[in-house]
Symmetry: C2
DNA sequence: TATATTTGCAACCAATCGGTTTCATAAAAG
DNA sequence: CTTTTATGAAACCGATTGGTTGCAAATATA
């Protein structure tokens, strides 16, 4: 079972779930209304998100509200940060142009 | 064929490739030396990275140097940015504590 | 208490993934 | 010209993925 954050956000449904519960916690049933799949399929996504701690269950009676815990997203942000200078500096487009010119040389 | 950036960086080998070529362009053979898999397996990863434009081929004679193009990483950064406030503000840990206390109430 | 609702879990299934081996092609070197 | 080197593409394979259906358990409601 690979349960890392990068694999978790690879699936578009899981990304949509994270966006949905970012504004307010939701139950699996409520979430499932937003997708063209069964409640159980959404539940499986919630399990994966819970296992890698992007989401936390919040039981209330027989309902379970899932809320976002963005802490683990730091990991992605940190990994991404090592490349940030490559797209943030205003020369990056020039760099690309130059390397394209170089590679299309005879 | 799902070829989006999120799926591309989900694989640890592909993330390692991106880090390796970030400092300097490399050929598939040179890259394969860093992994415990065949040259062809690395080549398949390079194909995926090329298709979603995280990497660009740079032919030179019979060799092909692959270099990083970080432009597409903006997409991940942008998606991530909508959650950034949730882990950056100094109250987020208190928020988590409070919601944990609430959920463990009788 | 009997019934309905909310949920998680297990079994199953087709498609995709990440690796392999084999082969063809193009460029460099002898 | 022949051989070696660098590469991509194709066929294949087992494991994983993302969905399904069916079921059991716990809570709420009549």
């Amino acid at each position: 079972m690979r349960r890392d954050v990068f694999q978790a956000i690879a699936d578009p449904t899981r990304r949509a779930i994270l966006v949905l519960i970012a504004s307010q916690a939701m139950t699996p049933n409520a979430l499932a209304d937003h997708f063209d799949m069964t409640r159980q399929a959404v539940s499986k996504h919630l399990r994966i998100l819970t296992e890698c701690e992007l989401v936390k269950p919040d039981p209330s009676g027989r309902e379970i509200y899932y809320h976002l815990d963005a802490t683990r997203m730091k990991l992605i942000d940190q990994w991404l940060s090592q490349f940030k200078s490559m797209w943030e500096n205003r020369f990056s487009e020039l760099d690309n142009l130059l390397s394209t010119m170089k590679s299309t040389e005879k």
